[in-house]
């Protein structure tokens, strides 16, 4: 099959978005659904502008971004660090195996009661929920990545004098695991947004809380503004991440 040209692919992508918006606009316009249940996209820019002017948008976005970045950073860091350690030490893996097995299936949201009891309705509680949400993804990605490192490369490190665990970690294990660890981190980028909304639903200020307020007033256009805001933020963060990743992995063909 011949490869479609770059411009044709771009054109198709735009056509797809346009068709999607048109369909969305058409559904309330033809009265298939009441506009209050599904606001048309043409109503969104105006609502967005009102949210920006009232200052609600800035406040919500800044505070959610704060939760997101802190939760993502802590959860990813802890997950990768512990995953790497467990991957390097057979006994640590065995030691933690049952704790992991018991804690892993508990969804992040199930921790909400404890988050509130421990931290109150505070940003820390929201961050905690996000940390739990991304921790396991990164823990298992890092654990699997480290265990899959080619034994021959470890032997190479030994043969050329890099015998200690720290030397091995930095000379071979981490660089060899960058690719799968990055895949875990990237999954976490998406997962963390879900956790942000969930964590703010119980009252910590941010996008999630603003959406909750709006939906209780049936202000669905506001809900849509924040859905789009989140999608755009995610898009920016994810594409930045991909750019950084591709730079780190430029040794791949």
């Amino acid at each position: 099959m011949p490869k479609p040209s770059q411009s044709k692919r771009l054109l198709l992508a735009f056509a797809g978005v346009a068709a999607f918006l048109l369909l969305w606009e058409a559904v309330p316009w033809f009265g298939l659904v009441r506009p209050i249940l599904l606001p048309p996209p043409s109503a969104i820019p105006e609502t967005f502008w009102r949210e920006v002017q009232s200052g609600a948008w800035h406040t919500a976005v800044l505070s959610s971004l704060g939760h997101y970045l802190w939760g993502l950073f802590l959860g990813s860091f802890l997950g990768v660090a512990l995953g790497v350690l467990a991957g390097m030490s057979r006994s640590l893996e065995d030691f933690t195996s049952w704790v992991v097995r018991l804690l892993r299936p508990i969804p992040g949201l199930a921790w909400v009661p404890f988050a509130i009891i421990w931290f109150g309705v505070t940003p820390s509680a929201a961050i905690f929920i996000i940390v739990v949400g991304v921790f396991w993804i990164n823990f298992f990605a890092a654990l699997g990545a480290v265990q899959a490192v080619d034994r021959d490369l470890i032997e190479l490190a030994d043969a050329f004098g890099h015998r200690g665990p720290v030397a091995k970690l930095f000379k071979v294990i981490l660089p060899a695991s960058v690719s799968p660890i990055m895949a875990g981190l990237r999954t976490g980028l998406g997962q963390a947004w879900m956790a942000v909304v969930a964590a703010e639903l119980f009252g910590v200020p941010g996008l999630g809380q603003r959406m909750m307020q709006a939906s209780s007033l049936l202000a669905t256009d506001i809900v849509v503004v924040y859905m789009i805001t989140m999608a755009v933020l995610y898009g920016i963060i994810d594409s930045t991440f991909v750019a950084v990743r591709d730079r780190l992995l430029r040794w791949k063909a």
């Binding site: 490369l153 043969a159 004098g161 890099h162 040794w251 791949k252």
Partner: protein
């Protein structure tokens, strides 16, 4: 000079330990090119691992009379696969063994580039390993080993994975390299013709557990021809001895 004395090594197994090497003795003179031949699975790679200190032997010793020298490593290995670190550029792969020796950055780079020049790949220093051919990668692996200026350069079937033409080219390059650098080389192969073509002395590793079964000096002057009659006779004699061991060991 490297003296290997009474080396014995066993691997733990489910039904008790299996002795792979027993009473292995070998002395290698400085600047000598020694080949070890043996059937596959006899313990050739294990022998190199023990000498390099990657596996601790049950008994015996490996001693180099050169003693520890700053800025160098006593042993260096070249494996059958080139074992490049794909995330490092060629020159950084060659620097791998120089790291941790306390050398200044410029010194590491200089030695890596010198080693690359020895194998004729200085112009490929900034490439990624995947941009090289199999033969070029193996040259880089040789450069990486030479860069640490080892007392003993050990090679484990280094040309076994290459096509016939590339293999012959690299064999000739290796002899040339050896003559220019004066390195001491311990070369492991299952290819008796290769051993006889390259080495001053060919050691037969056979038996179970394995030990040195014979040693042949190859006195053919260099540069050698591949069809040299004396070398062929030596190869034939080693082959006969080896097949005796293989028959004895049949059923293992």
């Amino acid at each position: 000079m490297i003296s290997i004395k009474d080396l014995s090594l066993a691997f733990p197994g489910e039904r008790g330990p299996t002795t792979v090497l027993q009473d292995f003795d070998l002395t290698i003179g400085r600047g000598e090119f020694v080949a070890v031949v043996g059937a596959s699975g006899v313990g050739k790679s294990t022998l190199l691992r023990v000498i390099a200190g990657l596996v601790r032997p049950q008994s015996g010793s490996v001693v180099s009379d050169q003693g520890p020298t700053p800025g160098r490593r006593p042993y260096a290995l070249v494996f059958q696969d080139s074992r490049m670190l794909p995330w490092r550029r060629v020159v950084k792969n060659v620097e791998f063994g120089l790291e941790g020796l306390g050398l200044p950055k410029a010194e590491k780079r200089r030695r890596a580039l010198d080693a690359l020049a020895l194998v004729g790949l200085k112009d490929k220093a900034d490439r990624w390993p995947h941009q090289l051919s199999g033969g070029q990668r193996q040259r880089v692996a040789i450069a990486r080993a030479l860069a640490v200026d080892p007392d003993l350069l050990m090679m484990d079937e280094p040309f076994g994975a290459l096509d016939a033409i590339t293999r012959q080219t690299l064999q000739d390059e290796l002899v040339d390299l050896w003559q220019r650098t004066g390195k001491t080389i311990l070369f492991v192969t299952h290819d008796i013709d290769e051993a006889v073509y390259l080495a001053d002395r060919v050691v037969l590793l056979a038996g179970s557990p394995a030990g040195v079964r014979s040693e042949d000096q190859v006195t053919t002057p260099r540069p050698r021809r591949r069809d040299d009659a004396q070398a062929r006779a030596t190869a034939a004699a080693i082959r006969d001895r080896l097949s005796d061991y293989v028959e004895q060991g049949a059923g293992i």
